[in-house]
């Protein structure tokens, strides 16, 4: 089964597509069959980051039933092992997917057969974005060391958290219970999702425990992008600490990626950054991030099924 990694960041311009593209290339170069999906339906440009200016197929071909399976919309990239489902050539109103279309898409994605599937998500906390996080127990949040970005990352993480709780509750048919809890603490839930868990634990201790356990299974990661020299390099660790202490959600800090003027150059030339600047600070840091991702998936695989192999 593929390891699905949604990559989201709340705010625009934090480098989600940049990170998705370059992490994808690094994974492919390490020999992993890697698929990148541009799920930023409103503003797709992942293809440009990895150096493809005119994708011939896209996600909407599948959604419009012009192409029967999602697998057939996959484009093979010049880099060995790297594949892309582009988000371009979509209809302009596709950013607001109908519910059935979304379900269809999520189902199709989880059936694809790759080592890694990276989802480049759009900004904001709409269901279109955060529902992709329900695809997997993993997920990467991207932020920059700026108040605006950090504000949005907290918002996104809380939304995903609530969504995950809902998802789990639905599976176990606790939906009514959740609604009840929600009604009791209407303001509190928006502010801090852990109150939902609390209410549940008080009313139904056993179910509360089960929910808590399934929330613990989530392996969220954080990358702080565009770190300049004057920024506090520990900011990512501190963010993870706040989330761990106050949301009860364990988030692992994957690392900083330095701000680099050359990223702009690479994007303008429409060529992958890590191929152009192989020994830059940012490239080395990206490699460290990829190491973290591979490490996690190996760990997961080891705990889930010790005998299964990739």
């Amino acid at each position: 089964m593929a390891h699905i990694w949604p990559i989201g960041g709340g705010k625009g311009g934090t480098g989600k597509s940049f990170l998705t593209g370059n992490i994808g290339i690094l994974l492919a170069k390490q020999g992993f069959k890697t698929l990148l999906i541009d799920a930023d339906l409103g503003a797709p440009n992942l293809h440009t980051i990895i150096g493809l200016s005119n994708p011939t197929l896209s996600l909407s071909d599948f959604l419009n039933k012009r192409i029967p399976t999602l697998q057939e919309t996959v484009l093979e990239m010049p880099i060995h092992n790297l594949f892309l489902i582009s988000g371009t050539r979509n209809k302009l109103d596709i950013a607001n997917l109908a519910h059935e279309q979304k379900i269809k898409m999520l189902r199709a994605i989880s059936k694809l057969d790759y080592d890694y599937i990276l989802l480049d998500l759009g900004t904001g906390t709409s269901f279109n974005t955060i529902d992709f996080f329900t695809l997997s127990d993993s997920g990467i949040f991207v932020c920059t060391p700026e108040p605006t970005s950090i504000e949005n990352i907290y918002r996104l993480i809380r939304s995903v958290y609530v969504r995950k709780i809902r998802q789990v509750l639905k599976i176990h048919r606790f939906r009514t219970l959740a609604q009840e809890a929600e009604a009791q603490n209407q303001d509190a839930i928006v502010q801090s999702p852990e109150t939902l868990l609390d209410v549940l634990k008080n009313t139904q201790p056993e179910e509360g425990k089960r929910l808590e356990a399934s929330l613990k299974a989530f392996q969220f990661k954080l990358i702080v992008n565009q770190v300049r020299r004057q920024d506090n390099p520990k900011i990512g660790i501190l963010i993870c600490k706040v989330i761990g202490r106050h949301l009860g959600l364990k988030i692992q800090f994957l690392g900083n990626v330095s701000f680099d003027e050359n990223v702009h150059e690479a994007v303008c030339r429409k060529e992958p950054f890590i191929d152009q600047y192989r020994y830059s600070q940012a490239t080395l840091e990206l490699k460290a991030v990829v190491k973290g991702i591979v490490g996690t998936t190996e760990e997961q695989a080891a705990t889930l099924s010790p005998t299964a192999s990739a």
């Binding site: 700026e146 108040p147 504000e151 907290y154 502010q191 501190l238 706040v242 202490r245």
Partner: protein, 212 residues
């Protein structure tokens, strides 16, 4: 997960139950950095009231744990509640942290504080008096006196700033050619002073044995 405001002071500051005041101070500073109003990492995460509540709680935790008496009472409270066990408690000076410069100083102080006590035991201890009544003092005699007083070479080394190897050489009369007469004299003087002996007496009688 335990709710944040239900955490005890140690959990709140993320320090061990036997953390030293140094560790507590450092942890507190880090936490304040994380939760204060202009902290980037917790920006927008808390409302103003929440933040104030957390900072007040941190202050309470810090002022309790940094104060020896308050901490003792708080620990008792935790023990009563069954959170903390007697052995896990912080016991002040019993825990020597060799990597901290303060630790050495406190040991030094301990010996100098004991100076009067040492002098008293020198004059009251019959074995020591018997040795001191001799005309010539050997290194072995000095070691015997030191053992009677229960002072280690390391302690002397800390105060006198003389390496243990050299002190041991003096006690074993093995200093030979490694020490000039001048250094030997001055080391003997320091050694004597450290364990509450009369420096002049020790130097004179020891050197008598060496010269001949």
């Amino acid at each position: 997960m335990k709710r944040f405001l239900d955490l005890n002071f140690y959990e709140l500051l993320e320090v061990a139950y036997d953390a030293s005041p140094f560790e507590i101070r450092r942890a507190y500073k880090e936490m304040v950095q994380l939760y204060q109003g202009d902290s980037l990492a917790s920006y927008s995460f808390f409302s103003r009231e929440e933040r104030q509540e957390i900072l007040a709680k941190l202050d309470e935790a810090y002022s309790t744990l940094i104060d020896e008496k308050k901490r003792f009472h708080y620990d008792q409270l935790l023990i009563e509640r069954g959170v903390l066990e007697e052995e896990m408690k912080y016991r002040g000076d019993r825990k020597t942290l060799s990597f901290m410069p303060n630790a050495k100083r406190s040991r030094t102080n301990e010996l100098s504080r004991r100076k009067n006590e040492l002098k008293a035991s020198v004059s009251s201890n019959s074995v020591i008096q018997e040795i001191l009544s001799r005309d010539i003092l050997s290194g072995k005699d000095l070691k015997k006196i030191r053992d009677e007083l229960g002072v280690s070479l390391e302690m002397i080394s800390d105060i006198a700033k003389i390496r243990v190897v050299l002190l041991r050489a003096i006690e074993e009369d093995q200093f030979g050619k490694t020490l000039s007469r001048m250094f030997l004299k001055s080391f003997l003087r320091s050694y004597a002073q450290c364990i509450g002996l009369d420096a002049d007496v020790v130097v004179n009688r020891y050197l008598k044995g060496v010269i001949d």
